[in-house]
Amino acid sequence: MNPTVTTESQRLALRLVGLPIAAALWVLAYSHLTELADLAIGLFGLTRATHLGEALHFFLYDTPKVLLLLTGIVFLMGVIQTFFAPERTRALLAGRRLGVGNAMAAGLGIVTPFCSCSAVPLFIGFVSAGVPLGITFSFLIAAPMINEVALALLLGLFGWKVALLYLGLGLAVAIVAGLIIGQLRMERHLEDWVRAIHAGETAAPSGDDLTWPERLHAGLRHVREIVGRVWPYVLIGIGLGALIHGYVPEDFMAAFMGRDVWWAVPAAVVLGVPMYTNAAGIIPIVEALIGKGAALGTTLAFMMSVIALSAPEILILRKVLKWPLIATFVAVVATGILLVGYVFNLVL
């Protein structure tokens, strides 16, 4: 037997044993966050009655909480994504009717792995395989708009109701935007060379059939890649959030980001488009701002427009879409985000 194969399977076995242990530790740590934070500021001789103590407590409570949720959710996403190679997703969507197809596409947009620079190949792959334009757009909108890092942060900082609302409204925007773009019959606004490729059959190497240990390994790799990249932003964000939480007076933000300020939502969307920021860095600050009177819908609208409507992504799409289609795309998505902002401000 090949010796390298043996060590590899041994390593996989080790991971399989390690996983339940890691999961148990995760639950244990997550259920004792307040005690840990209390204990930690006690060590510094502080109490939550002081500004410094309160700020530090916020930081020491939120940091492990957010990092734990982030690790957990990113791991699960990494495993789920092994089931949805782009080719598989395309096969699932080809020939779907509008409506059902848009809903499926939006759902698949969340779980199909691809980095933002793959938007164009994916787009062409879908359209050339006969996936209708509107359904393709539902997919392309859902993918960046519903961000797993944002989801983890919302869950950690605002609870499951807010996270679920974010998920539901994000899906709704993707579905409706796709339906509208489909209705407008904008196929003629694809670049000519894209339409020419239409007839071609796309046959990239599909994902190899993976075993469960390999899927779990993919989840771990996903954690290493994503959590490894965003944790500094999370720390900086929570740090800033802690300062605001401890020192900025109550209701300070209400005047210009409160729910009574009707123009705050559109202003947030317009402000968000040219920006390209990491969701991870923004949300903890957002939490602290909201504690001081900013409205959740306004801040969420800002976050969504930063993530889903970034200028770099639009420039990439320009390679396959003509301006009228891009303008429609931006307008439809921006309107959707506006609605999300107002709905959040209204319900919460």
Binding site: F114, C117, S118, P121, I124, G125, A204
Partner: protein, 80 residues
């Protein structure tokens, strides 16, 4: 000598893939001619759906994400 093309519009994953392929080939003493394909039209000729992609002697061997180091080592392994 193998002719290797890295397909990708230039995001970080593509650069990582390029570096990794270069590194592994050098480590295994395989001589390769490395080429970067970054125009969308050219990339689409290979009909893949996600970048980065790797093409060896005009055959697509990988698409979508940075390939595993072990996978790359297999490409350059001396065929026994």
């Amino acid at each position: 000598m193998k002719h290797v093309k890295i397909l990708g519009t230039g995001c970080r994953n593509c650069q990582t893939t390029l570096k990794l392929v270069e590194e592994v080939a050098r480590a295994q003493g395989v001589e390769i001619e490395l080429e970067k394909v970054d125009q969308v039209q050219d990339i689409m000729q290979y009909r893949l759906m996600a970048t980065p992609g790797v093409v060896i002697d005009e055959e697509v061997v990988h698409a979508g994400g940075v390939p595993d180091r072990k996978k790359i080592e297999r490409w350059f392994a001396p065929s026994a």
